[in-house]
Subunit: 103 residues, 2 copies
Amino acid sequence: MTSPAPLDDMFRALAEPRRRDILRLVADTERAAGEIAAEFEVSRTAVSQHLTVLRESGLISERREGTRRLYRARREALRELQKALDGIWSGALDRAKALVEES
Amino acid sequence: MTSPAPLDDMFRALAEPRRRDILRLVADTERAAGEIAAEFEVSRTAVSQHLTVLRESGLISERREGTRRLYRARREALRELQKALDGIWSGALDRAKALVEES
DNA sequence: CGCTAACGTTAGCGATGACTGACAGAGTGC
DNA sequence: GCACTCTGTCAGTCATCGCTAACGTTAGCG
């Protein structure tokens, strides 16, 4: 066991350039699924699937308002990712500490 | 412009858990390909392919010594990744550009 | 209720990716 | 030269991914 499951999903979600584009789009502003889809030239379906992946990974949050669903990037996710990157690069001391915290 | 090509490759490389494990392994210590492969239960071939992906993305550096090839994580890559993440979330790229134009 | 708008979900397809096994190459020592 | 070690490369297989098109669902309006 090296990476917690949610982090695993985040890294996988970030691998797709279009998902990073979507993430940028909802970084500052909360946007509806339709608005997001309109920004790209792929089908609404594709964007919806990307949003599902992003949401399940914890990178974005979803809020329903009537028939619309509003998405926004989660700032805590950024911190988790940065911590994960530091954990990869930094030394064995930090890794040992992380192991202790897991249990 | 969305993502520079090297960053794109880094994110894709990080998506694979095994590659992150390899990255952790060579974060502090420079290791030979064989040593790295011995840590996992997949074939040497698979590890070699992972090392190629990591090297081409710029996440690790390669140094030859006799028949051995020594790998080590590039610390500059960490900085580039953190900058990229900040750029996604806070729109720091645009703000930095504005700061440059001010001076 | 019927109708529309805004979404998500499913099935299926083509492309990409991670893996194994067999082979090739480069360096070292005899 | 020959043998041995360490490693990358190639071919092929199976799973996964991103995409489109058609269908299902939920909320609001008349």
